[in-house]
Each structure stands twice: as structure tokens, then as C-alpha cells.
């Protein structure tokens, strides 16, 4: 079972935030509800070909920017082939948010 990353929605004005904030960027409220962000649109892709200090420093890692369906952008690790413009499914993992091209109807969230 996978868990979608979550975004915070302002209780007062419904502005979505990611990462979480202390205060709403629009109305300064500090009361939130949390919603899953199970998918988004792949915007940009960058391949990291060398990572200083990593055990497998020369193993390429692909990171990407995803515009979530709820609005906020997330930095993610791509775990399979995907290109800008693709719809991707998002998973919260212990090492950050992972994304892969959506191949089946997306779950509602958690």
C-alpha cells in the first residue's frame, strides 16, 4: 500500500500550501486541514549524474518538478521513464516523494 504526499489547505481561505507553513501566505491564518496529493503534471526533469558524498555517487538520479493537481509544486524523485507533460502518481517514501508515470486510474489518496 502506498501513501500519497499531503498538502495543507488553509481553513479560512482554502489556499493550498506545500511545504507546510506557520501562517497562510494569503490570509495569515494558522489553521489547516490536510489533503492527499496523489498526482500531478510533470513539469521539469533533471538528471543528477554525480552526488558528492553518496555511497553510489555515480549512480544517476532523476529529479523532477511536479505541479500537483491541487496547485503547489513538489520536488520529486522519478522512479521510471517519464517526460514533461506526463501525468505522474506521487508516493511519500522515507527518502522523499517519488513519482512515476500514471498507468492506471489514480487512487483517491489514502
Amino acid at each position: 500500500m502506498t501513501t500519497a504526499p499531503r498538502i495543507e489547505i488553509c481553513d479560512s481561505c482554502a489556499t493550498p500550501h506545500f511545504p507546510p507553513r506557520l501562517l497562510c501566505r494569503r490570509c495569515r491564518s494558522s489553521s489547516w486541514r490536510s489533503e492527499p496529493a496523489p498526482s500531478g503534471l510533470l513539469e521539469e526533469v533533471t538528471v543528477l549524474r554525480y552526488r558528492i558524498g553518496a555511497v553510489d555517487a555515480e549512480a544517476p538520479v532523476t529529479i523532477a518538478t511536479v505541479v500537483t493537481d491541487a496547485g503547489p509544486r513538489m520536488l520529486v524523485r522519478l522512479t521510471g521513464p517519464a517526460e514533461p507533460g506526463d501525468v505522474v502518481a506521487l508516493t511519500d517514501t522515507t527518502t522523499g516523494i517519488a513519482a512515476q508515470r500514471a498507468t492506471r486510474p489514480l487512487p483517491d489518496g489514502d
Binding site: P19, R25, T65, P72, R73, L75
Partner: protein, 153 residues
């Protein structure tokens, strides 16, 4: 003596939703030049925060030194020829990014220039200088921009 002629700062103006290829300086530069009573062409020496070379060009564009789409020409005509005295100390790209002290690297060099104490790198007659900074990485790119226009009195 050196006097602060104008200063500005702005925090997280795009809420991390931008491309990262412009800074908050873009929004506050017009007010900065207005308050200083001078424009980009009037300054004798600049310190631009150089955590990465590309970010120097981004800030110069935001401050009005580079016209849209003319970065290559600017580098060729004004940087490689040294016609624009910028980061005359060598900047952080030479000195290293000294933690919390890094933000003062640029202002210190501009003050030295305006006091006429920049040794063999002295810009002759330097009377007006600018120090710009960019940092405080939040999520996708840095969030905080600031700039100082300084003058010798």
C-alpha cells in the same frame, strides 16, 4: 566615510512557485533605484552574491544591468572585458562561501572600494557602489533578496 544611500529587501516573494531564474530583486529594484536617485549605469563598483556564477547574471538582470535575452552579449562585452567592475575582491568564487559571514563579503568589498582602500584592485574614483545578496534556500530555490546602494561622502 561611506553612507547608505538606499537599501531594500524582500522575502519569499514568489512562494517558491517561480522558475528560480529570477529573484525578488526584480520586484524591488525600481523602488531601490528610485530611493537612491541613481540608475544602474551610475554605479562605479558592484558586489553581487556569487554562490553560483549563474546567480550573478540572474541578479544583474533583475537589477536592470542586462536586457531581456542579452545575457551572452553582456558577458562578452562587459564582464569578459572587465568594463564593469564587479566582485573586485574575487568574490566568494575565490574566497569560499563563509557560512553566515558570506553575506557580508560583498558589502565589505564595496566599502573598501569607496574608502579608496582596495589596494591594487582599487577602482579609480569609486564613489557609488552596490552590494546585492540572494539566499535562504527554503524549498525549490532561495527566498531572500537584498541590495544596498552605498556612496562615499
Amino acid at each position: 566615510m561611506v553612507r547608505v544611500r538606499a537599501h531594500t529587501t524582500i522575502f519569499n516573494d514568489d512562494h517558491q512557485e517561480g522558475s528560480g531564474l529570477s529573484t525578488g530583486l526584480r520586484a524591488v529594484a525600481p523602488a531601490l533605484w528610485d530611493a537612491a536617485g541613481v540608475g544602474p549605469a551610475d554605479l562605479d563598483v558592484l558586489s553581487i552574491y556569487d554562490d553560483y556564477p549563474a546567480m550573478v547574471l540572474v541578479q544583474l538582470e533583475d537589477l536592470g544591468y542586462i536586457k531581456e535575452g542579452e545575457v551572452a552579449r553582456f558577458v562578452k562585452e562587459r564582464l569578459s572585458t572587465r568594463r564593469l567592475p564587479i566582485n573586485t575582491s574575487g568574490g566568494q568564487l575565490c574566497a569560499g562561501q563563509a557560512g553566515a559571514a558570506a553575506g557580508m563579503h560583498g558589502p565589505v568589498e564595496v566599502v573598501r572600494q569607496l574608502r579608496g582602500r582596495a589596494d591594487d584592485r582599487q577602482v579609480p574614483g569609486a564613489a557609488l557602489g552596490l552590494a546585492a545578496g540572494y539566499g535562504s534556500f527554503i524549498y525549490r530555490h532561495a527566498s531572500c533578496s537584498g541590495a544596498l546602494v552605498l556612496e562615499a561622502t
